[in-house]
């Protein structure tokens, strides 16, 4: 199962969601080693010259043509939306139907390798979580927050795909909270606040990973010889309060019984984009065990803990 770190990358590689911030970080590394074909609903300005881009919705028939004409040998599927403001039916359709469609195209067009970017959030921050969640841990996030059902469903779909289609070597990566100079997801936006609200009396251990480290993990997973589910963690675990101190933040602790209802109102009114259930991330552990990826993919993060945290400031 061990992937030699130097095994050549397959190509051309189709990358969905390439115009997102993580996609751009990936494209920068990927195009040096292989041919990159980008697909995204969004435009991809300022892309590297040798990266071609198709501004397309994954669910559209023209994606079939792309497979027929450009004959990709591998897929990296980043085209997954984590926007809590998106209506559930739309998020579900985009994420789950989009993933099913693109994986089915891989089967039909003889793609040899598929890497799907899931997230460690599928485990969910639950009060009775073990300190380190291995890949076999049941995906219970929807227990407390139904908004992540689509992410769990697409992860499980990809898992079943691994076994149903052994001819496509499929890897599912579940990275912890991605941060970095260009990333604009919920955790990094939260950590950019100068006076972030915290839940009084809670200070969970958290894991952060630099966007470039996620990109290099995707690259490593793309090399032939690996298959299955891998947690991907950065350089270590750290209390939320230590991250705040490192970033010079002035957290404002508010008791849970006040914060949760207030946030619910604000979210429903569209004032904030942070659903109240996400407060669980500020209270409970959602820390994963990343040893399998280190062992079997031969991958490890390049950025130190301090560099990773401070990358939010850049």
């Amino acid at each position: 199962m061990t992937a030699p770190e130097t095994a050549p990358l397959p190509g051309p590689v189709l990358v969905t969601g390439i115009a997102g911030n993580l996609g751009r970080a990936l494209a920068k590394q990927l195009h040096l080693e292989t041919t990159v074909i980008g697909v995204d609903r969004r435009p991809f300005p300022d892309r590297p010259k040798d990266v071609e881009h198709h501004q397309l919705d994954l669910r559209k028939a023209r994606v079939d043509d792309l497979f027929r004409h450009r004959r990709p040998k591998a897929l990296i599927h980043l085209g997954i939306s984590h926007d809590p403001r998106m209506p559930f039916s739309e998020a579900h359709n985009f994420n789950v139907v989009g993933t099913q469609k693109i994986l089915d195209l891989c089967v039909r067009h003889g793609v040899k390798k598929a890497v799907v970017l899931s997230s460690a959030n599928v485990y969910g921050p639950l009060p009775n979580n073990s300190n380190f969640l291995a890949e076999e841990t049941p995906l219970m996030a929807a227990d407390r927050y139904s908004g992540v059902r689509d992410l769990i469903e697409l992860d499980m779909y990809a898992q079943s795909f691994v076994w149903r289609h052994p001819e496509v070597e499929t890897v599912i990566l579940r990275p912890c909270n991605i941060v970095g100079p260009t990333v604009r997801n919920a955790p990094s936006n939260y950590l950019r606040l100068q006076r972030p609200l915290t839940v009084m009396g809670f200070d969970p251990m958290i894991q952060l990973i630099h966007e470039d480290d996620v990109a290099s993990a995707l690259l490593q997973a793309l090399r032939p010889g690996s298959r299955g589910v891998y947690n991907v963690v950065g350089p270590g675990e750290v209390p939320l309060s230590a991250v705040m101190r490192e970033l010079g933040r002035e957290p404002v602790p508010v008791p849970d019984f006040l914060l949760r209802p207030a946030l619910r109102r604000l979210f429903q009114a569209g004032v904030v984009s942070f659903p109240p259930e996400e407060l669980d991330h500020l209270q409970y552990l959602c820390v994963v065990d990343g040893s399998r990826a280190r062992r079997e993919l031969g991958w490890s993060p390049r950025f130190s803990l301090r560099e990773t945290i401070r990358s939010i400031l850049a």
């Binding site: 009060p127 009775n128 979580n129 073990s130 300190n131 380190f132 291995a134 839940v199 009084m200 009396g201 809670f202 200070d203 969970p204 251990m205 270590g236 675990e237 750290v238 209390p239 230590a242 490192e246 008791p255 849970d256 209270q283 409970y284 552990l285 820390v287 130190s304 803990l305 301090r306």
Partner: protein, 284 residues
């Protein structure tokens, strides 16, 4: 870095060193858990914080409960081990006293990772406090990892059933759950039985208001003659037994595991009985 909390922590650490007696600072310096640039291990254990946080408990240990140890040298100096003790006293001061014993009266000192109830992570302030002093939620997965890392686990197999006994049931051990036995067999870890005498009388509970406890989401709600389960200045005696080693399959029938857990329970009960027979009085 000399924020008010930093200087308070330093004062508390000095207090711990003083209560521990001569050489305590040097002995505690032998504790070298893995730690990152933010001072914690991957579980969130912060050894400097723990040495500070232990100070008030060390004061209770020396001056209030006047804990007397019998046979602490039976605790292995290193390597994986399960410390299995009886549980009592309404509030888990017995756990705190055992932690202090291993820190202040062992050389080299050991950190006992106590397994806490699954509702602890929902408690504000208590949840991060426990994490910083090295306590973990008692999931089988956590136990496996800690034993594999050659840590000492402190387990109370009676759980809250033992902790929140009413006074008339004192020193009658509740039946041990057998989960710890499976972990011991899997990890091939020795078991040190521990009998704690004194804690049963620290907060005599007349009744346990179970329905109200359930409503409040608490495991128990014991009522003492003075209402709150605050501890009286009882004299603690802690008896450590010879390490027990068990062989067998961790996947054996529950009946077989329960039989082996019963052997450990009998060892703990006999240490308790010995302590009861030997002590001059509850408060003496």
């Amino acid at each position: 870095m000399s924020s008010p909390s930093e200087s308070l922590q330093q004062k508390l650490r000095d207090w711990t060193y003083e209560l521990g007696g001569p050489g305590t600072r040097e002995r505690l310096a032998k504790l070298t858990p893995p730690r990152n640039e933010y001072g914690v291990d991957p579980y969130g254990f912060d050894v400097d914080f723990a040495i500070a946080a232990v100070a008030p408990f060390a004061w209770l240990y020396r001056n209030y409960f006047r804990v007397t140890l019998h046979g602490i040298e039976r605790v292995p100096a290193d390597g994986r081990v399960l410390l299995i003790a009886n549980h009592s006293g309404q509030l888990p001061f017995d756990a705190a006293m055992l932690e202090v014993a291993l820190l202040l009266d062992m050389d080299p000192p050991r950190i006992a990772r106590a397994l806490v109830e699954r509702w602890v992570p929902t408690l504000p302030f208590i949840s991060p406090f426990f994490a910083r002093i090295g306590q973990v939620v008692g999931t089988p997965e956590n136990c496996r990892r800690l034993l594999a890392a050659d840590e000492a686990l402190l387990v109370f197999p009676e759980g809250v059933r033992g902790l929140n006994k009413v006074f008339s049931e004192r020193y009658k051990l509740r039946s041990f759950s057998s989960g710890f036995m499976r972990l011991a067999l899997e990890a091939n870890a020795p078991i040190v039985p521990i009998g704690v005498v004194g804690a049963e009388e620290q907060a005599p509970a007349l009744v346990d208001l179970k329905p109200l406890a359930k409503m409040l989401g608490m495991p128990a709600l014991p009522i003492t003659p003075y209402l709150l389960p605050l501890p009286l200045p009882v004299h603690y005696h802690v008896y450590f037994g010879e390490p027990l080693r068990f062989t067998g399959s961790p996947d054996a029938d529950d009946a077989e595991l329960e039989r082996q857990a019963g052997e450990v329970q009998a060892a703990v009960q006999s240490l308790v009985d010995q302590g009861l027979a030997e002590r001059p009085g509850v408060f003496l």
